[in-house]
């Protein structure tokens, strides 16, 4: 996929098209169905996600995935979220707009330039969260994407190698009780995470989450989930919601008071 041209704010802009118009109309229609909420101060106060743009490779293999995820976050949780991800190069000025970033790809990509690495490291150290969601080809990682991601993580956080996120981690209880991570593919039994100051700063899912989230503007799922079933797709969304809620609430659900006050139900 070709890289999109950028406007003066650094966000990618896409050419006008009938397909875009239709998508916009559907999104407006969907917004109208949302429960009425009083708003924050303005759009900048809403929770958005940065989709990292990088040269070489394919930075957006599942173009509709993040929008669909944020729509589900908006629909299912109290988070006041923006639906459209902000496409951002890993530069200080762009990374400083939101502490949540998402990086994907479906093939090998060249190593990031040093300024980009340092900007991302600063982003993470100041509290940012980066979700890595490689979209492997159906026949596996034939393009060397895994090695590119390994090099990328090693460069950004050389002192925090990725480790499996244990099943008892609060990430799996941030909103939904998730027994096991799944995406478009069943994948390994746990996520990988790099810890900084006691929190997961980089979370890597080798399950093609975006493949399960992606839905076209006519409401059709873009890819089949493997081994299959709508339960798997729902669980992929639940994991995605948890990822966003973890970035916002960190270890909130681990607090002792939640064990003291509550019993599993609905609420906070």
């Amino acid at each position: 996929m070709k890289e999109n041209p950028r406007n003066s704010d650094g966000a990618a802009s896409t050419p006008f098209s009938r397909r875009k118009l239709l998508a916009g109309g559907c999104a407006l229609g969907a917004l109208a169905l949302l429960p009425s909420r009083s708003l924050g101060v303005g759009p900048a106060s809403q929770v958005g996600v940065l989709q990292l743009v990088y040269p070489g490779g394919n930075w957006r293999p599942r173009p509709t995935a993040l929008r669909r995820l944020m729509w589900e976050v908006h629909k299912r949780t109290a988070v006041d979220s923006t639906l459209e991800p902000v496409e951002a190069k890993p530069e200080i000025g762009l990374l400083s707009t939101s502490p949540l970033a998402y990086l994907s790809g479906d093939r090998a990509f060249p190593d990031f330039e040093q300024p980009a690495i340092e900007a991302l490291r600063r982003f993470l150290k100041l509290g940012g969260t980066l979700i890595l969601d490689p979209a492997f080809a159906p026949d596996g990682d034939t393009g060397g994407l895994a090695r590119s991601l390994d090099r990328f993580v090693g460069a950004v956080l050389p002192d925090s190698p990725p480790k499996p996120v244990p099943a008892v981690h609060v990430l799996y209880r941030a909103f939904y009780a998730v027994e096991r991570p799944v995406g478009r593919v069943e994948g390994p039994p746990s996520l990988l995470g790099c810890e900084l100051d006691g929190r997961l700063a980089v979370i890597r899912a080798n399950h093609d989450l975006g493949g399960a989230w992606a839905r076209d503007n006519m409401g059709n799922w873009e890819l089949e989930v493997v081994p299959g079933g709508e339960r798997q797709r729902e669980n992929a969304f639940r994991l995605g919601v948890n990822l966003v809620l973890y970035a916002l609430c960190q270890g909130y659900k681990d607090e002792e008071t939640h064990r003291r006050f509550g019993r599993p139900a609905t609420g906070g």
Partner: protein, 764 residues
């Protein structure tokens, strides 16, 4: 060699020959040996053909020469010394402390005098060999003329200090030899301290260098009936809202084992009661208290005296300790997950002094009612538990973008407002969700908040402005501790100007009349001035804070990403929490009383400092102060005075207590500022807690010093004294016996004689 000679009155003259030449004895031995060798050499060098008589004559002459030369070298001197025999002394120390007359039953002082009267003949006989020095002692030491003079000699009820009395006794006449001490006492010492395991360190007594013979005067124990509090002990520091023990030890004498009631009270109000079983005259109980007020605490422990108690005055004790805050207990309620909520949480969680309880609305009430709950890991919002059961456990409640109505919190807002007026603190943070018609900043809470929200009739679009802006520090904000992020005022101003832009602000009608706006909008206006962004207010005993934006998180993320300082938001919230909870370090009116406790018969030092609402000193301001206490007759007493602050807004003075026990200093300043500080003045009568005789102590002192111990009588035959008499040199005179021309002439004559003799026999 000593030669008796004529002596003056009480003095003797002694004669002695000494060598004044100052020769080292070893050198003298060498010289004598050399002289002997010279004599032998002379004898052997003479030709035997000279005949025995001539050899003997020459050698004899040589011997005489060497002898006279040695005499001159040694310089013999006749030394005359005038000396005096110094008589040693025996000190008789008689306990005249309060316990000797107030111990209950027959007076121990009377028993003491009977013991001395019975031993009068023996003591007079002892006085023929030694000089007898009489002393009375209690907290101090006083010379007395004899046994009958003791009570008048001391009259001191300020404790019993055996060690101090002995120390002064030894130091008073250090030049006079002390043969020994005879100590009569009940052993009820008030000054000796024991180690944690109850052991006494008696090593000092061994350094006296004279035996201390002790006589225990315990009176008639059967007649002494007393229940008393030996000690009420607490750690010097306690943490607010955490339990701290107060251990009370009771003793009884002459009373059957019994159950005694012990009462813990403060300012006359009973806090707790305990029943204590006294077994073998001893009992102990522990009160657990959870102080909520910061600063110095003074509590009273008392045991109502039984009818037969002869000393009811010692049934009460006081204990004082400083109450510190271990942690700020913060309740953080967020109406939705947001970046602003995330970074407030990060700040509070990373501060070890905060004990954080947080509840975030992760799912709206509408979502809960329409979307089902399958697979959720959520708990219901525990509204009732928080606001009905646990509200008072918190120091600060933060409502962040919180709308109370959907979660049933609206009916508790009046309770929260009351919590603030009673001394709690609340912060409301956010945009229209916080200050709009449904926000926590409206309704009953508005009465205690610094900002006035718009009425519900104002359209929603007018409740916020989404234009990014750089917040502006106000004049008050430059000095206020909440926004004083760096100590230098100018640097602080520069820092605020350099901070990241905020995304927008909630619009409010204005500010409460007694609120202080610390940060405002650079150009947006409220009804009464620039749009307030951060404001604070003091309401009753509590405090409140309002932050009218939901993007302060930019100070923790966006700003630092772009090279700005990283600690602005954490510093702001730490200072805000400290100010909201009236942390003593941030108080405008500060009152200190030192020392703690104030010594009996000592003075208390009052130091007062006052700042205005903008935290500027208040030079010249006049404040009023009242010291109140309960006197010995259980009547409330007060001492009121005005105090005028100096050029730096400070005031200090000494104050002399007029009674013992708990006191309270209340200082009132301009603008309703008022601070009350409690302090304790120690009981002046130390004897009250040390009335029981302690014969083992007396036996131990005797044992440590090599003295004897007896009980109830003076056993003169067992008395141990050292032979300490000695001679004192009054004068000395040296008469040289070598320093005469005849000695030289004799030496010259002998040399000449030897020379002539040698010539006569034909020797050269």
């Amino acid at each position: 060699m000593h030669l008796p000679a004529a002596a003056g009155q009480g003095a003797l003259d002694l004669w002695q020959i000494t060598a004044a030449g100052g020769l080292d004895p070893s050198l003298l031995v060498v010289i004598v040996a050399a002289a002997l060798a010279a004599v032998v050499f002379t004898w052997r060098s003479l030709d035997p053909g000279l005949g025995l008589a001539r050899r003997l004559a020459i050698t004899g002459m040589r011997t005489l020469v060497l002898g006279v030369a040695l005499f001159i070298l040694v310089q013999p001197t006749l030394r005359e010394r005038t000396v005096r025999e110094v008589q040693d002394r025996v000190a008789i120390l008689v306990d005249a402390s309060g316990s000797m007359t107030r111990g209950g039953g027959a007076s121990r002082l009377a028993a003491e005098k009977r013991i001395l009267a019975a031993a009068k003949a023996d003591l007079d006989r002892l006085g023929q060999k030694h000089r007898m020095d009489w002393y009375g002692f209690a907290g101090g030491l006083a010379k007395a003329r004899g046994a009958d003079d003791i009570a008048e000699a001391t009259g001191d009820a300020g404790g019993t200090d055996i060690r101090g009395a002995l120390a002064r006794l030894v130091a008073e006449k250090a030049e006079e030899p002390l043969a020994g001490v005879l100590l009569l006492s009940d052993g009820a010492d008030t000054e000796l301290t024991r180690s944690a395991d109850g052991e006494l360190d008696l090593s000092w007594f061994k350094s006296i260098g004279a035996p201390v013979n002790t006589v225990a005067v315990t009176g008639s124990p059967a007649g002494q009936k007393d229940l008393f509090i030996v000690e009420a002990r607490a750690a010097p520091f306690a943490f607010s809202r955490s339990q701290t023990p107060i251990v009370v030890t009771l003793h009884s004498r002459g009373l059957a084992d019994r159950q005694a009631e012990v009462i813990l009270s403060e300012d006359g109000a009973v806090l707790q009661r305990r029943e204590v079983r006294l077994v073998g005259g001893e009992g102990r109980t522990t009160f657990m208290v959870s102080p909520s007020r910061l600063g110095r605490e003074v509590l009273t422990v008392s045991a109502p005296p039984p009818p037969e108690d002869q000393v009811p005055e010692n049934n009460r004790a006081h204990v004082t300790f400083e109450v510190l805050r271990d942690k700020f207990r913060v309740l953080h309620l967020a109406g939705l997950p947001s970046w602003d909520q995330r970074f407030v949480r990060d700040t509070l969680k990373s501060w070890p002094r905060v004990d954080l309880v947080s509840f975030y609305i992760l799912r709206t009430a509408y979502q809960s009612s329409t979307l089902g709950s399958a697979g959720l890991a959520l708990i219901p919002f525990p509204t009732e538990a928080i606001f009905e059961e646990h509200l008072d456990e918190f120091d600060v409640i933060i409502f962040q973008d919180f709308e109370p109505l959907p979660y049933g919190v609206d009916k508790y807002l009046e309770r929260v407002a009351d919590f603030v007026r009673r001394g709690g603190a609340v912060a409301v943070v956010g945009g229209p969700r916080a200050f709009g018609p449904g926000g926590a900043g409206g309704g009953p809470l508005a009465d205690v908040l610094p900002l006035r929200p718009y009425p519900a009739s104002v359209p929603e679009r007018q409740l916020s402005d989404a234009t990014p802006f750089r917040a502006r520090l106000t004049a008050a904000g430059r000095r206020h501790p909440v926004t004083r992020l760096v100590s230098d005022e100018e640097e602080n101003k520069i820092l605020w100007r350099s901070l990241a832009r905020l995304d927008g602000a909630a619009r409010v009608a204005g500010t409460a009349s007694d609120a202080l706006v610390l940060v405002d909008h650079p150009y947006m206006q409220a009804e009464d001035g620039p749009l307030p962004i951060i404001a604070v207010r003091t309401v009753g005993n509590g405090r409140s804070l309002a932050v009218a934006t939901d993007s302060l998180w930019r100070y923790r993320f966006t700003g630092p990403m772009e090279g700005g300082p990283t600690d602005v938001l954490p510093s702001f919230w730490r200072k805000a929490i400290a100010w909201l909870t009236a942390d003593p370090e941030l108080e405008r009116l500060r009152v200190h009383v030192t020392p703690s406790p104030v010594r009996a018969h000592g003075t208390a030092r009052f130091d007062v400092e006052m700042l205005d609402e903008a935290y500027k000193p208040l030079p010249g301001a006049t404040l009023s102060a009242t010291v109140s206490w309960i006197d010995a007759r259980d009547k409330e007493r007060q001492d009121t005075f005005d105090l005028r602050l100096d050029g730096e807004g400070r005031y200090g003075r000494e104050w002399t207590p007029k009674g013992a026990g708990p006191h309270r200093l209340t200082v009132k300043g301009p603008g309703g500022a008022e601070v009350a500080v409690r302090f304790l003045v120690e009981e002046s009568d130390k004897e009250l807690k040390h009335l029981a005789p302690d014969e083992p102590l007396l036996a131990a002192i005797a044992d440590a010093t090599g003295g004897s111990h007896s009980s109830g009588a003076i056993a003169l035959d067992d008395l141990r004294l050292t032979g300490a008499a000695r001679k004192e040199v009054l004068g000395r005179r040296d008469v040289p016996i070598w320093d005469h021309p005849l000695a030289i002439l004799l030496l010259v004559g002998l040399l000449a004689g030897e020379w002539a003799l040698r010539r006569r026999v034909g020797l050269h």
